[in-house]
Symmetry: C2
Subunit: 126 residues, 2 copies
DNA sequence: TGTCATTGAATGACGTGTCATATAGATTGA
DNA sequence: TCAATCTATATGACACGTCATTCAATGACA
């Protein structure tokens, strides 16, 4: 029994999906092309860049992103391999790690962020 | 130079991401558990179910979903393997295919749709 | 009619996300 | 202090999406 409310919900959902995928794809392509970095990689960089405190952060990162813990771990792998970030063990809890931007990471982030914000504006705030 | 407008954009984007991922994951888990079918599979079923006309539809499907053409093709593979849908060749253009729900597909869809709408309501319309 | 470009769909190689699990360090309580 | 348990992260198997390519059918035009 498809009520009109059901149809509205489905419409709303599809519209969310479309705008989400369109903007995500646009940003991903642009970052990939200009900075050789994926959207998820950038988002982690972005989170690291905005954490000025030096708390143990792998864990905290997982709470600020819809990514899985293991996804975050692998994204960080790639960032580290690319020399943009480094894992530093915490002295107060040696299970934990916190992340630091390397100089290259900081440089790339500040350029990529401009692109990122511009595309968000273009896609969200039309 | 992080303007406050930039921060708002980023906030807005993260909130979209979060609500998108949370609802998608909730629906996916529920459908998987109760009907052994993923979210993308359901969405294709749903599109097929709502196309009453018998136009050649693989193509049309691609236009109604953010999925790639090849993704659609593979989702349909799975639906076909599960006996929920069948591919029928078009007589007017033999490159094209249109899709039909099998009886099992129709039955599963009508049950799953109830669950789907309920979860949308729960997650979108708070 | 014969060639060339185009279109609808399928496929294989590959990257990345997820789940379940492993590992090492921390904490609790007897 | 020593188990038992819990917590932070890493890892391997696997599923799925994407890109590039392929194949067959169509259309266009000489």
């Amino acid at each position: 029994m498809a009520t009109t409310q059901d149809r509205q919900l489905v419409e709303q959902w599809r519209s969310i999906q479309n705008s989400y995928f369109r903007t995500a794809a646009a940003i991903d392509r642009a970052l990939e092309a200009k900075f050789d970095i994926g959207l998820n990689e950038f988002e982690i960089l972005d989170l690291v860049a905005e954490s000025v405190d030096s708390a143990c952060r792998m864990k905290a990162l997982g709470e600020r992103t819809p990514m899985t813990q293991s996804a975050v771990s692998k994204v960080v792998d790639r960032l580290e391999k690319a020399g943009l970030v480094s894992r530093v063990t915490c002295t107060d809890d040696r299970r934990s790690l916190y992340l630091e931007l390397t100089d290259a990471g900081r440089a790339l982030h500040s350029d990529a962020a401009v692109e990122h914000r511009a595309l968000l504006k273009e896609n969200l705030g039309e």
